[in-house]
């Protein structure tokens, strides 16, 4: 990826535009309201499925089409690739821990940023908790990877 100094001048404006649409969509779908997510998890309103799979349908089409139309992304020169991450038990352990937090609070990271945008100041509790949790796992993993001393992979 291009470093901060030689990025295309439209890189940041495009990221901002994408974020604006993304956040507007989260607010429009009411995902920025923890109560609506909790209603889904308690089987009282299944609308959330349309949000997640509606979003995935759009990215699915774009992820499929773009590599066939263009060799490289216009603003970065990077190749178009799908979002494929390696599988290990961390995916299930982390996913399970995330789910406990999501089920308790009704909020996930992107929806929490959007929740701040709709004026839900109380979501700062959740955002504070997310930073604390991200720090705790980062601190712990930094300790264990330096204790191993072996040249562990970047992730």
């Amino acid at each position: 990826m291009a470093s901060a100094t030689d990025r295309h001048p439209l890189f940041m404006p495009l990221v901002l535009l994408g974020g604006l649409i993304f956040g507007f969509g989260l607010a429009y779908s009411h995902m920025a309201r923890p109560e609506v997510v909790l209603n889904f998890l308690q089987f009282e309103d299944f609308g959330l499925l349309f949000v997640m799979f509606g979003g995935a349908a759009v990215t699915g089409v774009v992820f499929f089409v773009m590599p066939r139309v263009l060799d490289r992304a216009p603003l970065t020169g990077d190749r178009f690739e799908r979002r494929l991450k390696s599988f290990d038990r961390n995916v299930l352990i982390g996913g399970g821990i995330f789910g406990v937090g999501w089920g308790l609070s009704g909020i996930c990271p992107g929806a929490a940023y959007a929740s701040l945008g709709i004026g839900n100041v109380a979501i700062l509790w959740a955002l504070g908790g997310m930073f604390l949790g991200a720090y705790l796992q980062g601190w712990w993993r930094s300790q264990t990877s330096s204790a191993d001393a072996a040249p562990a992979g970047a992730d």
Partner: protein, 163 residues
């Protein structure tokens, strides 16, 4: 009174608020991710922002891999906040505040912070971009967090905590 056909009754039970707000909102979420992908090749997720932003203030080695992307992730998150604010001004007519107890938000947030970063993604990274990539890893991640979230929310509700 004429009764609705059975499929309509079922739909009204499963979707008491209709589906259009969810479907339109979901398509926009996908569109936002798609706009960034088409220009940059980046499939953006929301939870990496937590660690990349921590790299501004913490020297822990775990966060250093995100130094190169931390500035645009701040811009992406600012965009999410502003986009939601536009919705609040145009459709909501002002601020909206949750009734969910502060301790649920705080404790839940800690679990979300740990779990999304250990599990390599959240509802946008795994759920929207990963599922859109037909990634087996992401589909398994989504199943993992959906199952534990449903179980947790049902237990909390059964214990009489509302909301």
């Amino acid at each position: 009174m004429v009764t609705d056909p059975v499929p309509l009754q079922v739909a009204a039970e499963l979707f008491p608020n209709g589906i259009s707000r969810y479907a339109v909102g979901g398509l926009l979420v996908g569109l936002g991710a798609a706009v960034i992908y088409v220009g940059t090749g980046i499939s953006a997720g929301a939870s990496t922002f937590l660690e990349s932003t921590l790299s501004y203030v913490s020297g822990q080695s775990r966060f250093q891999q995100y130094v190169a992307s931390r500035d645009w992730r701040v811009v992406f998150t600012l965009g999410i906040v502003l986009g939601a604010a536009v919705y609040a001004v145009v459709y909501q007519g002002g601020a909206w505040t949750t009734d969910v107890a502060w301790w649920r938000l705080l404790v839940g947030g800690v679990f979300v912070g740990i779990g999304t970063r250990v599990g390599k993604g959240c509802t946008s990274g795994h759920g929207v971009c990963g599922v859109g990539s037909a990634s087996k890893t992401s589909i398994l991640g989504v199943v993992a967090f959906l199952v534990t979230a449903i179980v947790t929310a049902q237990i909390v509700a059964a214990l009489g905590v509302t909301p």
